[in-house]
């Protein structure tokens, strides 16, 4: 198994990216794909890299795998500098969007191939192949040719193939994008089970927030080559550290309103030139905040807005209905606001309503940096 690289591979691996930057040169222009990323991936952790296309997540993943060399910065596996090691020496298991199999070989031989390379007995190989294929539910297909299988099964075989290798870490690049929706749920559950069972780290890249939010213990949200927040799914949702994360996580994302803070007779109000005036004196440290920031971005998630008999007046523009919930698209003092509220059939487009905000869920951001004010 991993004994060739004792000290790195035989144990659980903690990965550390130290100030990684990657610049691609394209003719005369150079593109900064990854910018000064420092990230620690502890042992036994499921880590997601999430962001819009072109954010640098795949490049970061490829640098961890050893498929790409960083322009600057170092990669450590358990304090061993592996920056100059190639992918095979790092012994990472990789699963890509399109399963890489030997099409003419049987499923059995596809899974057995990496084991045969490590010269263990055919009997032991058989035991391991049967075990992994039982676990992934592909036992009935072992004698089939890989090319005969549908995409869902092929992806399962690709996962089985890397599982038996006893890798240091699993690296998955959009592995479920091409898998059909029903099979996707099942494979997600399997991946989580594999990770818990083997106790290995998995690093998972996707643009699909639900995929990453479902599987990960921690997620690095990336944009423009930078890691904006590295946190648990719950914290990304509840405590976004900047406006991008607030918008990107959740569906629909957070509402933002540019406001001015006004202190008046001991109270602090959020105001806009269009006439919004909302008392936020209840926020902790609000007087300190008001003394350092005149302008703020007020952030609130759609599900933390409720209809109320008082509060902020808004006009209903249109609505989406989500079964027992609805998304009200409103305009309040010239700003668009979305609220996710229980289904109420009396509301009509054009109606005026009053909305109020869940006091504990309000987040203020600095308009200059987009960062949350704590």
């Amino acid at each position: 198994m991993g004994n060739l690289y004792a000290g790195v591979v035989a144990f659980l691996v903690r990965i550390f990216l130290d100030k990684i930057t990657k610049i691609f040169k394209k003719g005369k222009t150079s593109i900064v794909a990854v910018k000064d990323v420092t990230l620690e991936i502890p042992e036994k952790t499921f880590v997601g890299l999430l962001g819009p296309s072109g954010c640098g997540k795949t490049t970061t993943l490829r640098i961890i795998a050893g498929l790409e060399k960083p322009s600057s910065g170092r990669v450590y596996f358990n304090d061993v500098d592996v920056t100059d090691w190639d992918a095979s020496k790092r012994n990472v298991a990789m699963v890509f969007q399109f399963p890489a199999l030997y099409p003419t070989l049987s499923v059995y031989d596809n899974i057995a191939t990496p084991l045969r390379a490590s010269k263990i007995s055919e009997q032991e190989i058989r035991k391991q192949v049967l075990e992994v294929s039982e676990f992934l539910g592909i036992k009935d297909y072992l004698s089939e040719k890989a090319s005969k299988l549908d995409i869902n099964l092929r992806q399962k075989v690709a996962i089985a193939k890397v599982m038996v290798r006893d890798p240091t870490v699993f690296i998955l690049d959009e592995p479920l994008t091409v898998v059909e929706p029903k099979a996707r749920i099942e494979l997600r559950a399997k991946l989580k089970e594999i990770q818990l069972k083997l106790g290995k780290s998995m690093i998972y890249v996707s643009h699909d927030q639900s995929e990453v939010m479902t599987l990960s213990d921690k997620i690095a949200v990336m944009n423009n080559g930078e890691v904006l927040q590295y946190d648990t799914p719950e914290n990304l949702y509840n405590k976004p550290r900047n406006t991008f994360v607030g918008w990107f996580i959740g569906s629909p994302g957070m509402n933002f309103i540019d406001c001015e803070l006004i202190e008046e007779s001991g109270k602090v109000y959020l105001t806009t030139v269009e006439g919004l005036r909302y008392d936020i004196s209840f926020l902790p440290n609000i007087h300190d905040i008001a003394s350092s920031y005149r302008k703020v971005i007020f952030g609130i998630r759609p599900e933390h807005i409720a209809l109320s008999s008082r509060g902020v007046k808004a006009k209903c523009l249109h609505m989406e209905r989500l079964g027992n919930m609805m998304i009200l698209h409103m305009e309040a003092y010239g700003r668009k606001i979305r609220a996710k509220i229980p289904q109420i059939s009396q509301i009509r487009v054009g109606n005026e309503v009053y909305i109020d905000f869940n006091k504990e869920k309000i987040i203020l951001f600095d308009p200059k940096t987009g960062k949350a004010i704590i």
Partner: protein
């Protein structure tokens, strides 16, 4: 902007009937969703409305004018395809301008109209770029701009959001609302994504196997689905369906679901011994969340978490209860549970949907409770 009437439309393709006697009225200035699984006949219907295909039987009326034999240009209809069908060798500007150039309009007029529509669709900054340099959302904006610029009265969008990221979908759905309101065009969406029916809930036609199964607004399809296909399809998350047996116990009729019994105080009109019990994921609650929000006839069951799937701002718990399929439960927040954990869940009998063995809707649980 006309009212579109389809009368007895039939269409054959490769020997099989792909549209079976479709009768549908699409009101003027509406945002209309034709919803259905892949290969249900949506695109075939869209192409016939657009005038790209002619029906084998039936007539199409626009404001009572028969347009069955007219082409897309004469009908003033534009169809935007899934892959946007932009000219790869032309810039965004030239793509949008292409229908106007065909009309041989003066250069200044073309420029004015392209800039105006580009401004409206927020792509003014991208006009010198080629399609390969544009994001999915931008490509779609260019395709819609091209349809708008020639003054199309009906815009048909075939699976418009399938290829777009979640966040871009949110923006584009809002754009379609704005567009339809401002310009007053008829927007017809052909979609296999139930979220599109949620986003445009006023007018929905559900198709399956070339047939029009049900027409109505979202609430009608959601509350009173004609059959189990509509019930499963029209909802945020697919409805759970449990096969149950009708049995007799202590002089009462019960439904044996395999995970517990439902007692029926009033016997609905049931024939046979099989019944399908549908319960929507959003109507099931997890015990530790503080119990059920309303009292009544509560059904309780237990299971092991298979996975908790976080979608947007909600979580779907897939709970293994020993039936063929896990039960899906929608929790309205981020709620992560590890696989294997045992959870207790409840739902109110009044929220269930009952279907006969053929999948036809019988009634809601409320009506069997009296």
């Amino acid at each position: 902007m006309p009212t579109i009437k389809l009368i007895n439309i039939c269409k054959r393709s490769n020997g099989s009937l792909i549209l079976k006697n479709i009768n549908l009225e699409i009101p003027n200035k509406s945002l209309y969703v034709v919803l259905g699984p892949p290969r249900s006949g949506k695109s075939a219907l869209g192409r016939i409305i657009a005038g790209l295909d002619t029906p084998d039987a039936g007539r199409i009326l626009f404001d009572d004018k028969d347009v069955t034999d007219l082409g897309p240009v004469e009908r003033n209809v534009s169809m935007v395809f899934q892959d946007f069908a932009l000219y790869p060798h032309l810039t965004a500007f030239d793509n949008i301008a292409s229908p106007l150039r065909k009309l041989k309009l003066p250069k200044e007029e073309i420029r004015k109209r392209v800039l105006e529509v580009a401004e409206y669709l927020k792509i003014s900054q991208r006009l010198t770029h080629y399609p390969s340099e544009l994001s999915g959302g931008e490509k779609q904006r260019v395709a819609i701009a091209r349809a708008l610029v020639k003054g199309a009265q009906i815009i048909i969008l075939d699976e418009p959001f399938l290829r777009l990221d979640l966040k871009v979908r949110e923006d584009m759905r809002a754009e379609l609302h704005r567009l339809q309101k401002d310009v007053g065009v008829n927007v017809i969406l052909l979609s296999s994504d139930p979220m599109d029916a949620m986003a445009f809930p006023e007018n929905i036609a559900f198709m399956q196997g070339g047939e029009l199964v049900q027409v109505g607004n979202l609430i009608e399809l959601y509350e009173n689905p004609k059959n189990i296909s509509v019930a499963r399809y029209v909802g945020m998350i697919e409805m759970n369906v449990i096969q149950a047996k009708i049995a007799r116990k202590n002089d009462k009729r019960i439904l044996d679901t395999g995970i517990g019994e439902i007692t029926l105080p009033i016997t609905p009109q049931l024939s046979g011994s099989e019944i399908l019990v549908g319960i929507r994921p959003e109507h099931i609650h997890i015990g530790e969340e503080g119990g059920h929000p309303y009292a009544g006839n509560i059904f309780t069951f237990e299971g092991r978490v298979k996975i908790s799937e976080v979608i947007g701002s909600e979580t779907i718990i897939h709970l293994d209860v020993g039936l063929a399929e896990p039960i899906r439960i929608l929790i309205p927040t981020i709620y992560k549970k590890n696989p294997g954990e045992v959870l207790r869940a409840t739902f109110n009998i009044k929220d269930v949907y009952l279907f006969n063995a053929n999948g036809q809707f019988i009634c809601r649980g409320g009506s069997i409770l009296g």
